[in-house]
């Protein structure tokens, strides 16, 4: 399957030349969750999740704290196995090849106890794509090019998140999961990250991101998935969602109200 990346597109930067996404053979629907349930310690965290995500573009997952967004992302990413139900990529059960084409930035970034530079090198070497120029470009892209030798754990929270994103990009993902990747970033850093996300999406990487920032979701996302208490209440194009959400929970969320269940 040929890579469909337009590297001449203005504003794309040189990252894609160094690190093209792996170009999954994309069908119309890329990710299918069928009847996914997840229970832990007797607590139902996800229930009856049925979701078909579009192959391209940016999907934002929104919902109240504790709705199950992070767990859902981990289930999609294949690092948490659902108690029931299945996850399919391109109509096939997730296989090793699919798994290597995904990367995730966690809500709380976990960095190796090494230098900034070594954190990136580790992944590039694991993927057998190490080149100093690649690492330098990645670090420059997230604005960490003056911190090469700083121990990653001495970075500020926002810098750690940017490093985690650079590391995820080093995996050359076809699907990139972002769990509140801009939550602790200043406006300038947020803009950098949003640019990268946009760029990646244009270059063909599917982005699935959790965010509480409605303005950000409106700016970036093509589709919104809204979650409430472990279920999906709606999955709509972004303009539709922000103009008039279908579900009461989403209305409450956007109005900044807590939503009370009738049950």
């Amino acid at each position: 399957m040929p890579n469909v990346i337009d590297i001449n597109r203005p504003g794309t930067g040189n990252l894609h030349k160094l690190l093209p996404s792996q170009g999954l053979a994309l069908n119309r629907t890329q990710l299918d969750l069928t009847d996914v349930h997840y229970t832990v310690a007797g607590k139902q965290i996800l229930s009856k999740v049925n979701l078909a995500l579009h192959a391209k573009g940016i999907t934002a997952i929104m919902g109240f704290n504790g709705a199950g967004k992070s767990i859902l992302l981990k289930v999609m990413h294949g690092i948490v196995s659902p108690t029931r139900g299945s996850v399919h990529w391109n109509k096939e059960p997730t296989n090793a090849e699919h798994r290597l084409q995904q990367a995730m930035v966690f809500q709380k970034p976990v960095l190796l106890r090494r230098s900034v530079k070594a954190n990136i090198d580790f992944v590039l070497k694991q993927r057998k794509s190490f080149a100093p120029a690649t690492r330098n470009a990645l670090l420059a892209r997230v604005g960490l090019d003056e911190k090469y030798h700083v121990p990653a754990r001495l970075l500020s929270g926002g810098e750690q998140q940017r490093l985690a994103l650079a590391r995820a990009l080093a995996c050359r993902p076809s699907i990139l999961f972002l769990d509140e990747a801009t939550a602790s970033l200043d406006p300038a850093s947020t803009a950098i990250i949003e640019n990268i996300v946009h760029e990646q999406a244009v270059a063909g990487t599917k982005i699935i991101m959790v965010t509480h920032d409605a303005a950000q979701a409106a700016r970036l996302a093509d589709y919104i998935v809204f979650m409430d208490a472990g279920t999906i209440t709606e999955h709509n194009p972004s303009h539709h969602f922000f103009a008039a959400p279908d579900s009461q929970a989403a209305k409450a969320y956007l109005d900044g109200r807590l939503f009370h269940h009738d049950s």
Partner: protein, 233 residues
């Protein structure tokens, strides 16, 4: 008498008494070799216990912890039984050789290194696990990364093992026999010379042993310090 013993002891050390340094040399050789061997076994086992999902893991943990508190004389006795002429390994003719002492100390220290390194690696793995899963690391890639990132803590584990080996007397005296110029090490020499009333040599060895213990502790705290400074702790 006490005072002159101290003087003689200091002279033995400063003038490079050959008997004294032979004993020190053998002590270091035996202890360092057994720590090296214990690290090979202990780190492998510790990493497997910390990261593996296999049957009998909990039981193995309990056994290792029990072995860790096994008295050195008992370890010495078991190795003696194995190596003695009528024992299963008797044909090797290893009893009363430095090799026998290395074997006994390896048995003594491996459980300690296994248990401590398992703890260190497990703590780190708890933190890294999700990230490793996300990066799709293989088991061996995970273990390599964990061992590297835990290197400061693991060095302190090695030093703890060395401290135990150097100060241990029960196991090496049983399988080594404390034979002059052959299997006499610092601790066994101190025990013998003290019982013979030759306090000078015993004291000299005691001072060296204390000095080594001090050195190990200095190394330990400087390791901790540099690990913390670099935020690897």
């Amino acid at each position: 008498m006490q005072e002159s013993a101290i003087n003689i002891a200091v002279n033995l050390i400063t003038q490079g008494d050959p008997d004294l340094y032979e004993i020190i040399g053998l002590s270091l050789r035996v202890s360092l070799s057994s720590v090296a061997l214990s690290l090979i076994f202990g780190l492998t086992l510790g990493a497997a216990l910390a990261t593996g999902q296999f049957r009998g893991r909990a039981v193995l943990n309990i056994i290792i912890n029990a072995l860790m508190s096994m008295p050195p004389v008992v370890v010495g006795l078991l190795v003696y039984l194995a190596l003695s002429r009528s024992g299963p390994m008797g044909w090797l003719g290893l009893l009363y050789t430095p090799t026998a002492m290395i074997i006994a100390q390896t048995f003594l220290i491996t459980p300690l290194i296994t248990a401590l390194s398992r703890q260190v690696i497990e703590d780190l793995y708890l933190e890294y696990k999700e990230q490793f899963a996300s990066l799709r690391l293989t088991q061996s890639q995970r273990i390599k990364a964990l061992l590297w990132d835990a290197r400061y803590s693991l060095s302190t584990v090695a030093l703890a093992g060395l401290g135990r080996a150097l100060s241990e007397v029960g196991a090496v005296i049983i399988v080594g026999g404390n034979i002059e110029h052959l299997t006499r090490v610092m601790t066994t020499a101190i025990a013998l010379e003290t019982s013979k009333g030759d306090l000078a040599l015993a004291l000299a060895l005691g001072m060296i042993l204390l000095g080594l213990a001090l050195l190990i502790n200095i190394l330990l705290s400087s390791l901790n310090l540099s690990a913390r400074r670099q935020a690897y702790a």
